[in-house]
Symmetry: D2
Subunit: 117 residues, 4 copies
DNA sequence: TTTT
DNA sequence: TTTT
């Protein structure tokens, strides 16, 4: 395999989308907002794919609004458009390391504040 | 801006596509093949965008088949589909560093070989 | 220059060490604790060097205990040991991008708590 | 574990230093020269540590002068100076992916290349 | 669709 | 010397 390394820091746009397969495998998809240099620019939105234990950690601790850092690689998923039959591809960040950022406080919404709800 | 770092090593799929703007700016687009772990898998093909001096270096030294390493960030370019009017986006590696790999010999295609045709 | 990319996420061990040169240049040094896989292991401590605008941001917003992400490259600084005269070198992360992590709340120590003292 | 990602491209300074442990583990150490921006500057020399299958690949295919790309993380090894008893530490790149660069020709200087067949 |  |  060639060198293909991606590191991103951003905020998660919605709660994790978990899939539990009959094989026992676990998959988690997240959408991550990564800001551009200018605050007035729209962020780039990336689709992250996590498997196994990393997916389970995400399922347990990542929520909408949570700030995370990820390391992974960039892939393309190919799929056939239902209507047109045209093959399309969409970029996916295959995550192999996930780090939850901010203090526990950030995630907990303690003391009545509710920034991330 | 958030942390958004991509590092790739691969081989260029065709000669550089250069654009010289009236403003004096220079842009280069390349398609890069990055192998997956298994050689039997198809590689991922990425679109690279280079500007300014980095673009000029690419224009002068990168040719089809050339092995390169790049550092940059991952963005999405949005555009409106001419036929359907639907807004689509395609991922772009915005390159801020380019490194030419292999010996000069590799690039020269001496001895009549042409690996990627 | 060859590809030399480092991305780190960690917590700062002490307040920033700022130096203002007569030339107008600004330099900031930080010590960053980056945890290893096992929580029982000691973290790795890295020396970060920031210049110019990035240094000033660090001087204004980074404090002891602050969580940050940085992108940069790994260098060695050489220096002569005063006592022995032996040339030593120490690794330095030359930072070209700094991102402050956590909510504003984390840094502000609001509500009377003082997690990082 | 925190995010700690290093990507380097450079040339190896000497043949691989292999160690085969009784446990069956294999370790390979390499010294890698990574050029700075200016060609007149001395390169930075990094110590790489590879284990297991990656170490064996290095042992079989990496030679002095070989161009490689690596992905890994930055650690410090601590050791006690024999003479002074002072604890010193030296930075190590823990490699988890190795990519051999250039054509087979580069390393071998043969004429009958067959890179992609 | 996230945040500051 | 930081945090959880």
């Amino acid at each position: 395999m060639s060198i293909n390394v991606v590191t991103l820091v951003g905020r998660v746009g919605s709660d994790p989308d978990m899939k539990y397969f009959e094989s026992g495998k676990v998959k988690c998809q997240l959408r991550l907002a990564v800001n551009r240099r200018s605050r007035s620019d729209e962020p780039d939105w990336f689709t992250l794919e996590l498997w196994g234990k990393t997916a389970e950690v995400a399922g347990n601790y990542v929520k909408k609004g949570k700030q995370i850092a990820v390391k992974g690689s960039l892939k393309f998923d190919s799929w056939s458009d239902r209507n047109t039959g045209i093959t399309r591809s969409s970029p996916i960040i295959q995550v192999d390391q996930l780090e939850l950022l901010g203090s526990k406080r950030d995630a907990d919404n303690d003391m009545g504040d509710d920034n991330f709800s």
